[in-house]
Symmetry: D2
Subunit: 358 residues, 4 copies
């Protein structure tokens, strides 16, 4: 039997995960496994209902015995005080609304509460938002930028993986108006777990995806509006970005390269100093000194986001680069970080395992 | 700053890792990071001496600040009470001898103390053993089979990765004489981290190793004698195996398929029952029921070894299969498990994180 | 426009591929592309009917303009004189029968005509054979072992990929009674394209299949009876094998390791000499001298099968190892080789491109 | 014995490859293998001198028997009329000069003759050019853009892989002044064979490179000046680009995403029409219609470059994307294409094999 001894179970926050057989949900379960202040008290999965989680996910065999159930908000409210939603876009809205009403705290790993303007949902996500009133209340859960609001929130919208990568790299410079707000180009390169566990498409069939590099949803990816919403807030003016996501043959990992025009001359040390100052005190953002560049290998399985910036003096542009684990800081890691903030726990609780290397 | 608060540092065992920039050594450091009863007090590396570990290994940046030193036994003895040796075959012998003499406990992840017969070293490892007296004292650290001796040992020899995989699958059947002692065939398939971090050979260059499947050291691999030594002990008679290791394009993971002739009729349920009974109480060996087969994905980054057996009724042979992480149960995980046993800690302390999936 | 000029189109054999959007079928089309004596005159695909092949398979864009059609034997007989069937087990039987009746030559890449005993079909393939009379006539298309019969055949059953690997390595020794007929253990390790293009299972989803090593259908794989059928023929007595297939994270490539007890003493040079002698004149079987071992990298994209043998003197067993491309010599390559033999062409026509390295 | 029969050897151009055990050199050898108009008459390799090429490269075993020699220009001039140089930057200069003087034609796959301004060599390549006079004469071998000059050239400088990808995508738009010359951002993602076969660095060790995504030489990559040189020529004014190369865990393949500001409104159909018109008659550039995007999988092992463009109407930028095989159109394939042009052969001779899929 694996598990901590000598702990007082009473003190723990009871947590439920809705959609816990997908990659993000499973990763939340994994992180909760060693969390000192929270305990998994209910596990929901529509595809796996009736089975034991540790048998659906072979990695959890013998260690995770939760019985999977079909999620039903009223019954679920009896089981837990904090809810993670990891079930796919458009599927959290109604459940969240019912749970918030019942006094529960909710964190949506999906996109249902990221955008402030409800009109963007039909445009970017092809669904109409059914509880637009909650959009206003929801806090965008980029932990390092909205920490104060997150701490007070009942409902947090976890940022998209690409948005997290782009915002953590770009915001510090945009905040200080060191880069121009037009002409920003964002390139993202993601591992394939970002596509989820259940969408079995030919494009993700191993023989197709291995040794393949490709762009997709060029200038049409649904993380674009949340990037722009948050960048505009930080910049104090409307910001647009041209975003191209790519898929590369990796399972986990997301690298983002942001290019923007410098508004004033700067060198690599200046750029480092700015990042370093902005993220001092931010446990999970590691600023790399000049000469170092982020690699997804170094953050694999963790909640870290490594960032660096490099001046292209020849073109007077700044290149901002970040590496994160799309299931870590890009999803479940940041979700647990936000739960910690919302619950008054240490921000790093349950997240302190070093990256898995190699 | 990541780390546990409110812990009493005094109570902790002070631990040193010799060779901590290699893959196995680095994995021990990673596991110690959250260990409640032990703390890394010295980090040795000949290639990295003078640098900070968290800068040599980018995954450890900002969280691991140990200064790497050149290992020197007399000075090292002042620094720690428990020593892991992870520096390559033939390099631990003399240091271990000096530390044992000084009353320290040692665990060698390498092969220097695995074989009881010193004459096997020149034959299989191409070096002469310089402290053969210690070979007798050393306990072979297959945790689930030698638990009692390990608990009392000053010196434990951690099994080879292939040996761990083969022994955990085969020993239960050999112990009960359910399979013949001749004609045993062992096939191992390993990820490439098993080759280590520093041996930069063309064969492990990404373009060469990706999309490549190959056998190597056929019938000549150095883990053969330790398999035979331990199998003979369990069987109560001399056992020989024909062992073929393979390299496949994965980073971590080791699958072993053992084939042996049945001495009496048996079905899949019988085989399961035997394994299940033998490993009841063994936290880290997960016995899969009939219809399930081990996969390295399910043990990645963990100390688990998944085992299963399948009867081939047509040929009256038994197929025993195990999956482990070559750096987990195949090296650093089992090493920490053994340290726990040697130190009176809970056997699973520091090892309870679920596998990283996917 | 890519293509050879100055060729006389009249002289060419008109060829049809049934199931040409699967991996094996597509590889036949690729190989036919530069074949001097044959031309693709009809392309069948039930999933792609109505579309242009070069748009269904992006790799063929702008170079392959065949319109895909639904296969119907009577109409197809008007279009071609030679038919490749690549559509999956159980799907070729009836079409082959109708085409043979119409005087056409057929090569089935699937299993429908591999087994002589019709009772094995329900046992291993879960279907009843509807034209058992043709099983007798069909020639098992292991080119190097049945060349004479293949040349005269109207119907050839292309061997399974695992069977090809095992037979090419093992037959030379079994033929000379140098290894025992009992206790033979066959281990196969295959890339994932062997699972086909259309079966989108979770197990082959990139995040699941990458970094995963596993066995499957242990002692139950359907290539077992064809191995035994052909081995028995070569040995002149009944031979059984215990076969364990594995999947490793590669797209193409199949390595086979066969272990058998030596009936007389032999060294590595003897083993080499035997293989070398047996395959002199066999263009596509490359026998590696002692000290060399097959690697799938070296045969990728080609019709080569590299073989080697190594004596395990300690256990008096012989290890026979082969590497091939499961879509090359393991499927489409051998299929074209057999078409060449059946049609009186040079055996290597269309197959002379060196492996793609790296 | 593999090979074409009935061919007249006299008519063939005798070709030498200098540096033929590297990846690019070996790929030229592979392509020459089936070339109807050229034959490999000398093979040079400093690391492999004295050995047979087919034993150094296991993929060539039994089919390529050339004896490797140390390259010496005077002696080499006796052996061949056309020379490929594939030995690394700075190593071709002097040999090329001596061979040109002796009336030979030369193609440098490396960078020694790509830049017109000799001052750029110390800046970007850290060596001084020793035969600057030849820089003027050398033709930049982007086949589709400089076809006429290449046909007349004695010396062609094969473009860098990244430059090929960027130029083929961007030039058509820049030529028509449809995108602005400032603010161009180029992102490249390359497989690891681009790093070569001999540089055994930790970064390319399989366990480090697999599951890793990273940028490198940000704003400092040596392909930048050749991109700018050729873009400026096409645009008729000075063009600068900000270029970020990335390494992803693939062996072959290079995807390039170029972002530039539109100077006038355009839609996806307009962009397609422009590309399609520009590359009509260009065998190896496949323009994908709107809704399709290039993937490296589709060009693997071939000389194709797939290109597409997508308008980002929200930001008034144009995204131009190309996919090629870094060893194909990015090196050896384009090199053979240029040899064909320089020698009056069909441009596609030896290059017509479809991509290897999957």
């Amino acid at each position: 039997m694996i598990g901590r001894t000598g702990e007082s179970a009473q003190a723990k926050l009871s947590v439920a995960v809705v959609g816990c057989t997908g990659y993000s949900g499973a990763e939340v379960v994994r992180l909760l496994f060693n969390h000192q202040r929270a305990v998994l008290s209910a596990a929901y999965s529509s595809s796996g209902a009736g089975q034991v989680l540790g048998l659906v996910l072979g990695s959890m065999r013998n260690i995770e015995f939760s019985k999977l159930e079909e999620f039903e908000p009223a019954r679920a409210a009896e089981k837990a005080d904090f809810f993670f939603f990891a079930g796919g876009h458009g599927r959290a809205m109604s459940g969240v609304a019912q749970l918030i009403e019942r006094g529960k705290k909710c964190l949506d790993i999906g996109a249902d509460f990221r955008l402030k303007d409800p009109r963007q949902y039909p445009e970017w996500y092809k669904f109409d938002h059914t509880v637009p009133a909650l959009l206003e209340e929801a806090v965008y859960g980029l932990s390092e930028w909205n920490r104060a609001e997150i701490k007070k929130a009942r409902l947090v919208a976890n940022p998209g993986c690409y948005a997290t990568g782009a915002l953590l790299a770009l915001c510090p410079f945009l905040e200080k108006h060191l880069v121009a707000t037009e002409g920003i180009v964002v390139n993202g390169m993601s591992g394939i777990s970002g596509a989820g566990r259940t969408a079995l498409e030919l494009a993700y069939h191993f023989p197709e995806a291995s040794e393949n590099i490709r762009a997709y949803r060029v200038a049409q990816h649904q993380h674009t509006p949340e990037m722009e919403q948050e960048l505009s807030k930080v910049a104090g003016e409307a910001v647009k970005v041209s975003f191209v996501p790519h898929v590369v043959p990796a399972s986990r990992g997301l690298l983002t390269t942001v290019s923007a025009r410098l508004t004033e001359t700067m060198n690599d040390d200046d750029a480092f100093d700015l990042l370093y100052g902005r993220y001092s005190g931010a446990t999970f953002v590691r600023v790399l000194p000049p000469g170092n560049l982020p690699e997804t290998k170094n953050v694999r399985g963790s909640n870290f986001c490594d960032v660096a910036a490099k001046v292209d003096g020849r073109t007077q542009r700044l290149l901002m680069i970040s590496a994160l684990d799309n299931l870590g800081k890009g999803a479940a890691g940041q979700a647990v970080q936000n739960m910690n903030l919302m619950s008054g726990f240490d921000e790093a609780e349950g997240l302190w395992t070093p990256p898995l290397y190699p």
